[in-house]
Amino acid sequence: MSQIFDRSANFLSKASLGAVLLLVGGLIGLVMVIGRSSYVTRANEFIEQPIQFSHLHHVGDDGIDCRYCHTSVETSSFAGIPPTKTCMNCHSQLWNQAPILEPVRASFRDDRPLRWVRVHDLPDFVYFNHSIHVKKGMGCETCHGRVDQMPLMRQQNTLQMTWCLDCHRNPEKYVRPRSEVVTMGYKPPVPQSVIGAQLVKEYGIRGNTSCSTCHR
């Protein structure tokens, strides 16, 4: 009776073992890569909104302060999306016939809210508070990017935990004077390495990293 496997089977079996390991490793790696990709995090994705609202125009061109619309950013966990009334403060006078603004007028007329799509969406088990970050000198730009250059709003950063922790562990790299919080394109007058440490001390920043700081 002849042998079923010839000698080359030894190599093949070893190679296939290695291949399986590689495959498993590769799959795990792939999952991790996908998990961190912008496909999952939705970073830099443009999102269709009921109205093509342009931050580029309102912030960049018109120079409207962030807090004119996002009124509760200094007092509440939620920065606030303006009620239709806020839009109409100006747009009952300006561009009050523009077809692009019809949904706003309709909302105001019919008392039906605009339904915006959330761009920065943290998972439901994460509790972020805007007011304390603003109080401690975190610029809007640090997380939200150059909003004044975005014709359509997009999420600049991954919003993943490692990204949060980078700042919570090293707040001195990102902190800015409170007066500059809403400034777009802020450049520290003195090197960040100097002013950062100073501000961390002055504002009493502790950069909490306990789990219950954000998860509860």
Binding site: L27, Y39, S76, G80, K85, P113, Y127, R216
Partner: protein
């Protein structure tokens, strides 16, 4: 071996204990094999196993699926979410910040003042109103559970006529037709049946209708209420009055079958008053409580001396005591030997505290005993000191029992053309011999207004959904007379109508909005003008959160328009949650001769006591899962009622003939109770401390149309309850059936195996040995630990102190925790598996004699150890130590190994074995606290010390550039506690209340010998017994030390 021997063995075991031993259940004392197995398994056998038959194929399928899902879940994209801003944002509202509105919960002819937390228009949590005299910031279980009641998806949702959906206007039309048809008869065929009305507006409306139709009648009916108390006050004083007790002033208190700390909304006020003389901080000014009771109550568990007597014997006891005290007009009744021993010392103690004592009689006692109680208080000079009398909080006190019987007679005689049932469920709650349901059929037109399509609704042609009190404008008086305007937190979810709105449909002016009706009533009452620009009918937020310092009282929002004089007042009322100066003034009363009536005939045979259920009350809360699953304070039963019986009586009746293993187990023997031709099959449950030959039956179960949660739970004991025996039935025959019934009691769940957990001393022992509480058998060497525990806390270090001296086991904390932390309900079968999810449980321990043990309550939240056994065993670091000393639990990291729970010596961790949360029902989504993650299947969870409240306070303090003040963080359990037994704060601050308490000599940690160094510590109990009744025993003290 039969049970009889077992109970003997139990006694022997208890007698043989050295010093004091504390036990939770008879099984634990008996050390039945079942109990031991339960203990060692942590969960019952097979609780953690998948019991459905699983073949190899399906196993592979499941594994394959779960593996691939596990992989995929890591890269799920978040679903798209919307943000829907306001069109015009209300002025006071800041998105993301809750508002608090003051209102009140009307309940059984009284009310409790509340502050309700609202998130963007959704009420999510109820707190007590610190400014309201009935609450002073605390609540009871019913108020806490009202949130679930509001969002209950089983509430009735539309007006129906013979099952057909109709608009409310159709009912108004029909009603007006009836009313106009009654003109010629002066309303002779018109009857209104309501619950006890504590709303001045509603009472005025009904009275106006009665004025228009003098022959119409209004009957109030409450299945359990202050009937006997009212009749007792009439016997004693010739008029209906409400006794107001100033328990905080009393040195000696005697409760005659009264559960004054937990029955009704006044319980909250009484609990706090009692606790003010009893806490660890009180020092030597302790009061003394004597309780004579037929069935163990929460109040009785706090008594220094407790005497179980049959209900019929209490009458004799009261008379004997009155005679001993020299009360005129009372002759001593017969008393048992045990009771006679009490009389002398008790009378002496009461006499020694003239003007500083009080006698309180329970609702279940006949009117004559109430009258005797009043006479004793008068004779002891307590009236005007610890007791005052005022008018009643209900607008029209009446003999409700007689009223209902008369109404049924008229219904049977065909005299009633139209019956309007304003709330309540008389078909279920009326005494069974009245046959209310059958009589109802003889009424031509019948309409029911209620929260549910219940048993009564099923027999009425019209049903109108009632607005929940959180959805309506109204008003209500609390026990002391204080009026609160009830303001809505949300528009009616299901088009419900308030009773005031329903009544308006019958008025000449016709149907109108509740807001206008209530305002109009109060404008007329105050005589103030409403002329000026009327403001929009927006509810007024109370500007402050509970716990935060009160903002200056006054108008919340600066009005842009001028306000009328009435509106100025109105807005203040809404903001403060009460109408000032409406508390009743004391009323002089004179005792009338002949108040004591003749002594009641001696009871014969078995006596059955009817009591409202500690959880579902008279059945009105039967569909509330939080209350159904709440372990009742004394029995720890959930989801059922049972006939409570003393072990000795059960033994005498030979109820347990089976094998020893089955004897005490939750498989309870079913008995048949017979009285005449009425029979009731009900399981029995052994309760140490129950009076001999006395069975207690709780009302409120066996509902047929309660809703998905409540229908079919427990047993309808109304079957035995007849009109002339609504409190007690005598001479009941008990027959064992041989059947068993599975009851779900949690008393042996999460056992700590009795390692010196409760520590008690008498006042004398404490004075002699102030360090008794923290004496340890084993002293742990700090260096000897496997766990990292050298944490440094530079900022805050949170801690809790729980005072067992005052905790009466009312359970408000448990429901408050459930509401605050989105804790799910699991159902009876899961409770049987030991899977109830309460983050905070109240352990109840007995000690002493089997027939009359002392009882202690020990609330058990997470102990937040410094050397936490749970943290070190988690393979994925899902539970970690925070820099403020909390044992954080991170749900999104948890993979469900359950090692942490296994390693927790306090057994405070809860695992989501199945998907207990309801993620689908829309109304329940509105209910949840948005600040707390809603947990899914496969995740461990536990008490967090309400970390969401800590974080909120930290942010608020940092925004103001200051430290968190003491008392600024109030945990949900602490806020709800009527006795203020739970104190929370920063133990790094030596000036904080919690830090001071932890320095008390009474402070001790549970299982300190394990070196876990818990952040939650307990205050040992100091009893204040009368030395004449309990001579200090040398052996006792010795046993204490040797323990």
């Amino acid at each position: 071996m039969n049970q009889s021997n077992d109970i003997e063995a139990l006694r022997a075991r208890l007698d043989g204990t050295r010093g004091r031993e504390y036990w939770r259940s008879l099984e634990a004392v008996a050390e039945t094999p079942e109990f031991k197995e339960f203990l060692h398994r942590e969960f019952p056998s097979n609780a953690s196993e998948w019991l459905d038959p699983v073949g190899r194929r399906s196993f592979l399928k499941l594994m394959g699926a779960s593996l691939s899902l596990a992989g995929v879940s890591a890269c799920t994209r978040q679903p798209i979410e919307e943000i829907v801003p306001y069109v015009r944002q209300p002025e006071e509202l800041v998105p993301g910040k809750p508002l608090f509105y003051a209102t009140a919960m009307p309940f059984a002819g009284s009310a409790l003042g509340l502050l309700v937390e609202s998130h963007e228009g959704r009420p999510t949590k109820i707190e007590g109103n610190p400014d309201h005299p009935s609450s002073r910031g605390a609540t009871d279980i019913y108020a806490q559970a009202a949130i679930l009641g509001l969002y209950d998806p089983d509430r009735s949702q539309t007006t129906t006529n013979l099952g057909e959906i109709k608009p409310f206007s159709a009912f108004v039309e029909a009603a007006r037709a009836v009313v106009s048809g009654q003109g010629s008869k002066q309303g002779g065929g018109l009857r209104i049946l309501s619950e006890t009305v504590a709303s001045p507006t509603l009472a005025a409306q009904i009275e106006a209708l009665l004025k228009r139709f003098p022959a119409a009648k209004w009957v109030q009916w409450e299945p359990v209420g202050r009937h006997n108390a009212r009749e007792g006050s009439r016997l004693a004083f010739g008029e209906y009055v409400e006794p107001q007790y100033a328990i905080e002033k009393a040195d000696v208190i005697l409760s005659l079958d009264s559960d004054f700390m937990c029955a009704g909304p006044a319980g909250v006020r009484h609990s706090r008053a009692f606790a003010s003389r009893r806490r660890a901080e009180t020092g030597t000014a302790r009061n003394r409580l004597y309780a004579v009771e037929s069935t163990p109550t929460n109040t009785g568990t706090r008594a220094d001396h407790r005497l179980p007597l049959k209900p019929s014997e209490i009458d004799g006891f009261a008379r004997a005591l009155a005679a001993q005290l020299g009360v005129e007009g009372v002759t001593a009744g017969t008393v048992s030997d045990a009771a006679r021993k009490w009389l002398g010392p008790l009378a002496k103690d009461l006499q020694g505290a003239r003007g500083r004592g009080v006698v309180i009689v329970g609702e279940g006692q006949p009117a004559a005993v109430h009258a005797i109680g009043h006479a004793i208080n008068a004779a002891l000079g307590n009236v005007g000191e610890t007791v005052t009398y005022t008018q009643t909080p209900e607008a029209a006190p009446s003999d409700q029992r007689a009223g209902l019987r008369e109404l049924v007679g008229e219904m049977n005689a065909g005299k009633v053309d139209f019956l309007l049932v304003l709330g309540g469920n008389p078909v279920y709650t009326a005494p069974s011999d009245l046959q209310f349901g059958a009589a109802l059929h003889k009424v031509k037109l019948r309409a029911h207004v209620g929260l549910y399509e219940d048993e009564t609704a099923a027999l009425c042609q019209w049903h109108i959904p009632e607005a929940h009190f959180l959805e309506m404008w109204g008003d209500a008086r609390s026990d002391d007379g204080t009026v609160t305007i009830v303001q809505p937190l949300i528009a009616p979810l299901y088009n419900g109508k308030s009773l005031v709105e329903v009544m308006a449909a019958f008025s000449e002016a016709g149907a109108r909005a509740g807001y206008d009706l209530v305002r109009e009533h109060w404008a007329a009452q105050t005589g103030l003008s409403t002329e000026a620009v009327a403001p929009a009918p927006a509810p007024q937020p109370a500007a402050t959160a509970p716990g935060a310092p009160a903002a200056p009282a006054g108008v919340a929002a600066a009005p842009s328009q001028p306000l009328s004089p009435f509106d100025r007042e109105w807005r203040r009322w809404l903001h403060d949650g009460l109408v000032p100066n409406t508390a009743f003034a004391p009323k002089p009363v004179t005792l009338q001769a002949g108040f004591a009536k003749a002594a009641a005939p001696a009871g014969q045979g078995l006596e059955v006591v009817f009591r409202p259920d500690p959880s579902v009350y008279d059945g009105r809360f039967a569909n509330n899962g939080w209350l159904q699953e709440l372990p009742k304070a004394l029995t720890k039963l959930t989801w059922d009622n049972a006939a409570l019986i003393a072990p000795a009586t059960a033994d005498r009746l030979g109820l347990f003939k089976g094998e020893a293993d089955e004897a005490f187990a939750s498989k309870a023997p079913v008995v048949e109770l017979k009285k005449g031709d009425r029979t009731l099959r009900v399981p029995v449950w052994l309760v140490p401390g129950q009076a001999p030959d006395t069975l207690t039956l709780h009302l409120g179960y066996g509902r047929e149309r309660a809703g998905r949660t409540g229908t079919g739970t427990g047993f309808n004991v109304n079957v035995l309850r007849t009109w002339d025996s609504q409190d007690v039935v005598n001479g009941v025959e008990l027959v064992a059936t041989g059947d068993t019934y599975q009851l779900a009691s949690t008393q042996d769940h999460w056992s700590l195996e009795g390692r010196n957990l409760v520590r008690v001393a008498t006042a004398a022992e404490f004075a002699a040995d102030p360090g008794f509480a923290d004496k340890r058998e084993l002293v742990a060497d700090r260096a000897l630990t496997m766990y990292k525990s050298d944490w440094k806390y530079e900022g805050y270090a949170w801690g809790m102190a729980i005072d067992q001296n005052v905790c009466n086991g009312c359970n408000a904390c448990v429901v408050a925790c459930q509401a605050e932390n989105n804790v799910p309900v699991v159902g009876k079968s899961q409770v049987l598996n030991g899977r109830e999810m309460h983050w905070l449980r109240v352990d109840r321990y007995f000690t002493g004699e089997l027939d009359n043990p002392d009882t202690y309550h020990q609330p058990m939240p997470c102990q937040q150890c410094e050397g936490a056994p749970c943290e070190v065993v988690c393979p994925v670091a899902a539970t970690t130590h925070s820099d403020e000393g909390l044992n954080d639990m991170v749900y999104n990291r948890c993979v469900g190994t359950r090692y942490c729970s296994n390693n927790c010596p306090y057994k405070v961790r809860r695992f989501n074995f199945l998907l207990y949360q309801d993620f689908d029902t829309p109304s329940l989504k509105l209910m949840r606290n948005p600040d707390v993650t809603v947990r899914s299947r496969g995740v461990m969870e536990k008490c967090t010390y309400c970390v969401q409240r800590i974080n909120q306070a930290r942010v608020t303090a940092k925004l103001d550039d200051r430290q968190i003040r003491d008392g600024e963080v109030v945990t949900a359990c602490q806020a709800a506690c009527p006795t203020d037994a739970i104190v929370f704060g920063n133990i790094n601050d030596p000036e904080s209340r919690v830090a001071k308490l932890k320095k008390s000599p009474l402070n001790y940690a549970l299982l300190a010998e394990l070196n876990t160094r818990p952040r939650t510590t307990y205050m040992a109990v100091v009893r204040n017994p009368n030395v004449e009744l309990e001579p200090p025993s040398a052996s006792h003290a010795e046993g204490e030390e040797g323990h």
